[in-house]
Symmetry: C2
């Protein structure tokens, strides 16, 4: 345990509970006597190279607790991914401010940033402890049973589809809801957690773990519609054809790519509209509607899992404990130990960094258009307490008089 | 007060609290000795002509209470608008089942249905009491201070934009959120209720009460972006040009119309995508994202105003009381009597039926791109208890060392 300042930063897409992790790391750091000051970099690594630090040792515990319960990244975030030159700028700043401990909260891109910074620091002989704190609504970090941020986003998606199913029952037709998730279908699959009765939707769930066949899709929709007189579909934004090309690229002429080379999937309703047109044209069903759940999935204020909040707080705390009492850099990972309980391990960065976990086969039905009970068992405890429930009237039909 | 069966039905778009009104009417009806049985027609007037009735006298009070708290229309809904022939079919069925009291829960199209049925019944000499129970997330019924369903949808929109603002602060750019509302901008205006700090979004709000000028819009966005380095915009799906043509028709070649002749605005992300492209092209700003809040606004399970629930329940109860103790048909209307309290009146159907109320001028700023404090005062008490709050870190900036 060496003397030094602590620096906390947040990277990638915000979540409902990422501030819990930040506050967990800050408050735990403030307890250690070898820590002189606790800084927060604004907008991730970008804030480091720009030397934009908030002194979180001057922040009240009360306000930190209030911020912890506020969704999105209170320090701001970034999509920047440092290369060697960027890292050298980072070291220059860290050295100037005598930073000894760097905690970066983020997903697989951010964990790769931590890995690069860690390696470069080591090669440069700079005494810096780098710890990655997990966060992603995509739930796609390796080694982890699940990742903070996912349970709350999953709860939002489940509650959204619970309502969508009721709405679609009241005014029947086909409804297609597009859910976030580039490579991993966990969040889309969460739509199934709103189901209660056997005829409830979503009746069909399409995940990026399987190839999306438009003809099979249309045929599936027609079959469900013929059975129930309606059809609710959950589709991942990341669905792709056999070649791996996202279905959305079939429509848009000019695709936008981020710093990581990823095609922009969110922030546009194009995929839902494309699928709606496809169903209208091929089936002749009149009432076909599509929604893209969009940024509400990760930012909506007022839909959070208490399990998620608790775990997000704990990975922040554990990160500081691992950094202070341990001898190496790493990533905090979550491991399930009961139904339901978890423990936290300190994993080598290379095991997590830049890798993507997808849904295991036993979570997906053979037909590839629904989830299994194993998935429901996996997800249910993560959604936490107080999940809403949907009720319906019983079918006490009055005998017909005119047309008996 | 004459003997007869009670028939309750739900029309138009579902809301989070429309089942409260249904259950209020059912439970109150069950107390009257002149009421033999209480039926519910499935899918509105369509269920009447199809003779699809549920016997709600055989439903448990407990399950009715559970259904009351469940969003969407538990009896099912319809977009059908009866003409004379349709009405004659209705009377035939009502007569066969000895229905004496007809309660129809819906918006301005549904209230017009009640007016038509009422007039036709009167001309046909059929002894039928017809009462319209107000419901619409659009908040556009005449005479009413506000309408059940709107406060909960408004709360959803406020909480959504509260989160969107935090998300947009963390990863700055331009965000455009499209909100439901064909002619009335109340729901879009509700986005302002998520604001706390002076620099919070939505920074711009575009309503169907004002002509939408794309050039002014782009110029507004650029000004806000130059000031804050980001911009959150709330736009009503019903925005139109000077000729009254919806902006969405500028893009789509084949528009879909419903039975009332309305162009389909919801269930497509086209308007948001159109506005995003416009801002990208005209301003050169890179990160521009659009969402269409879609059906979640009226169906999301787990975001409801307790004030809305209470009032929705009361208009159902009052409808039965007005019908039983009164001598005429009418519509239950809500009137504000304090800050905050309401009373219920029984209004002539022709005052409400088929008419549309829009935002009064004093709720809209002179520039036409924001709402006034008068609107915030109007809406705040309707959102109910336990509104979430957003907190931020204080700006205790650390002095720069390298570039002071």
């Amino acid at each position: 345990m060496f003397k030094g300042k602590v620096l906390v930063a947040q990277g990638g897409g915000p979540t409902a509970v990422i501030n819990q992790s930040m506050v967990g790391a800050v408050l735990e750091s403030r307890k250690f006597r070898n820590v002189e000051l606790v800084y927060g970099a604004t907008h991730g690594v970008r804030g480091i190279v720009d030397e934009n630090f908030l002194d979180l040792t001057q922040e009240t515990t009360h306000n930190l607790e209030m911020v912890a319960e506020t969704p999105s990244s209170a320090l701001g975030s970034t999509r920047d991914k440092p290369d060697l030159k960027y890292c050298q700028e980072i070291f220059k700043v860290l050295k100037a401010h005598e930073i000894g401990y760097f905690f970066y909260i983020g997903g697989n891109d951010s964990s790769d940033t931590v890995r690069i910074v860690s390696e470069e620091a080591s090669q440069a002989g700079y005494d810096l402890r780098c710890v990655h704190i997990p966060k992603t609504i995509d739930n796609d970090l390796m080694v982890n049973d699940h990742t903070p941020g996912f349970p709350s986003a999953a709860r939002f998606v489940a509650q959204a589809f619970m309502g969508i199913n009721l709405d679609n029952w009241a005014l029947p037709g086909v409804y297609i809801g597009v859910v976030m998730g580039r490579h991993a279908g966990f969040l889309t699959a969460a739509s199934a957690l709103g189901k209660k009765f056997p005829d409830d939707g979503p009746h069909l769930i399409y995940l990026p773990e399987r190839t999306f066949d438009p003809e099979q899709f249309v045929s599936d929709v027609r079959r469900v519609y013929d059975t129930y007189g309606r059809c609710v579909v959950a589709v991942s934004e990341g669905i792709h054809d056999a070649s791996g090309a996202p279905i959305i690229t079939r429509l848009t002429e000019h695709v936008e790519r981020d710093a990581h080379g990823n095609i922009q999937l969110s922030g546009t309703g194009a995929l839902a509209d494309l699928l709606v047109d496809l169903v209208k044209q091929k089936t002749g069903i009149k009432r076909v509607r599509g929604d893209t759940l969009g940024y509400l999935q990760r930012s909506f204020v007022g839909c959070v899992s208490d399990v998620d909040q608790r775990e997000a707080r704990e990975v922040g705390e554990k990160a500081v404990q691992f950094a202070m009492w341990g001898e190496r850099d790493g990533s905090v990972t979550i491991h399930r130990t009961g139904f339901y309980s978890v423990d936290y391990h300190f994993t080598e960065l290379k095991e997590v960094a830049g890798k993507t976990r997808v849904m295991p086969d036993n979570f997906i039905t053979e037909g590839g258009n629904d989830v299994t009970d194993a998935f429901l068992m996996y997800l249910r405890p993560l959604l936490g307490r107080g999940m809403p429930d949907a009720y319906r009237l019983r079918n006490n039909y009055v005998p017909k008089v005119l047309k008996p």
